[in-house]
């Protein structure tokens, strides 16, 4: 009988777990929708921004700007963007693995690597394992452009002061709900902008520039860094919730399977108990009949 009770308790426990994973799935789904909407809303801003930046870069020799300065790399910084919370499948693990691989190859080239974890999962992982310049944790739940601005504040001046020579960004590129892939992007020196093809010939018009075109470019480039960072943040946020949706969906399905097999076990055990009891009674009556 004890076994029966145990199984029953187990079924109840799994059922409760299932309720939780199901709720988490739904929460992730609604958060995912919000994140996706934000990505959608950001597109016109980013698109328009690139258009102007490219047309401006055509006029000014952008490659003389300090943010585009190519130096032989000695020290590099790597931004590693993870989520704050777990329970989202391999989302963070895959990213951290990719980051570690990247760091290893760079270290093999005798480069000094310093990490900048963004998101708590990455921070916790790298805290004791790597050299860290600074970090941002517990920021993914609610962020806006000011987070990207704060990060760029921390990376632009050291680069211009030549405290490091290259900056890479590792984040989960968002492809669709169920697929995110770690991507490595070089942020600094900024890739050359203003190629001839990037600008529609009809759009190459003479503007009045206020202030001068050089100063304008000087102001636009830090904004460009913020645009790149913000996009990565949005993709991370959408990817995290997409991954969590998939993980929780899986977990719910596993619970169903577990409940099925446990119920089967429970029924078998109950049948066995009934049979055993019957055997007892039959054995008892037979013994009584013999003795009388």
């Amino acid at each position: 009988m004890a076994a029966l009770k145990d199984i029953k308790r187990k079924i109840a426990a799994v059922q409760k777990t299932k309720q939780i994973t199901k709720a988490m799935n739904m929460v992730a789904a609604s958060k995912f929708k919000v994140a996706q909407q934000r990505m959608e809303n950001f597109r016109p801003y980013a698109g328009k921004f690139m258009e102007v930046l490219n047309s401006l870069a055509l006029r000014v020799d952008a490659n003389s700007h300090p943010l585009l300065a190519v130096r032989p790399p000695k020290r590099i910084w790597v931004i590693c963007m993870t989520s704050d919370r777990g329970l989202c499948g391999g989302f963070n693990t895959n990213l951290i693995k990719a980051a570690e691989r990247f760091v290893k190859t760079k270290e093999a080239e005798r480069l000094e690597v310093t990490l900048i974890p963004v998101g708590r999962k990455g921070r916790d992982y790298f805290r004791k394992k790597a050299k860290i310049a600074f970090d941002r944790a517990d920021v993914m739940g609610k962020f806006d452009m000011s987070l990207a601005a704060a990060i760029s504040q921390d990376i632009i001046p050291p680069f211009i002061r030549e405290e490091y020579d290259e900056l890479y960004l590792i984040y989960n590129e968002f492809r669709n709900v169920s697929s995110q892939r770690p991507a490595v992007v070089r942020l600094f020196p900024l890739p050359a902008i203003g190629s001839e093809e990037a600008v529609d010939p009809e759009k190459r018009i003479e503007y009045i520039y206020e202030p001068s075109d050089e100063i304008l470019l000087d102001r636009l480039l830090p904004m460009y860094v913020r645009v790149l960072l913000f996009r990565a943040l949005l993709e991370t946020s959408a990817g995290e919730n997409g991954a969590r949706m998939a993980a929780m969906d899986n977990a719910t399905r596993n619970c169903d399977e577990l409940i099925g097999s446990l119920t089967l076990k429970f029924n078998k055990a109950r049948q066995a108990a009934i049979t055993a009891e019957l055997m007892d009674i039959v054995g008892g009556t037979e013994a009584l009949a013999k003795s009388s």
Partner: protein
């Protein structure tokens, strides 16, 4: 084409406004400037300040963060990192932001790397309060 003026106000969060207007006043970094229809092509950076436009003889005010403005053949595109319409500004929050920024600024040396950032936050809060009055 030259007899209308289309305004597009774009932020990273959304397309805040897109419609025909009569006049736009932009807080350019070299001083405020107005745009009427038929304006020459212009590209200007924007500083934290008050942006306003007139539509059907009614003026609407926004508090905007840094960005830039592009005027091109009857269309004004404003790209700013944030834009809040006067009647949507939360005054209590703006006041709190202002006090916070002031308190931090008082404790800070001018050489502090975060000085400019906090200063910008203060300007933004003050602008928001000012614009909120016009709602």
């Amino acid at each position: 084409m030259a007899d209308e003026l289309l305004l597009e106000l774009v932020t990273p969060e959304k397309l805040a406004f897109s419609d025909k207007v009569e006049e736009v006043t932009v807080p350019g970094s070299e001083g405020e400037f107005g745009v009427l229809r038929g304006h020459a092509s212009l590209l200007s950076s924007i500083q934290i300040g008050e942006l306003s436009f007139t539509k059907d003889n009614k003026k609407t005010y926004y508090a905007v963060n840094t960005g830039y403005a592009e005027v091109l053949s009857g269309k004004v595109t404003i790209l700013v990192e944030s834009a809040e319409r006067a009647d949507f500004i939360d005054r209590d929050r703006a006041r709190k932001d202002k006090e916070e920024a002031e308190a931090r600024l008082n404790k800070m040396a001018k050489e502090d790397p975060e000085y400019d950032q906090v200063k910008a936050a203060l300007t933004m809060a003050e602008t928001r309060l000012k614009v909120a009055e016009k709602a």
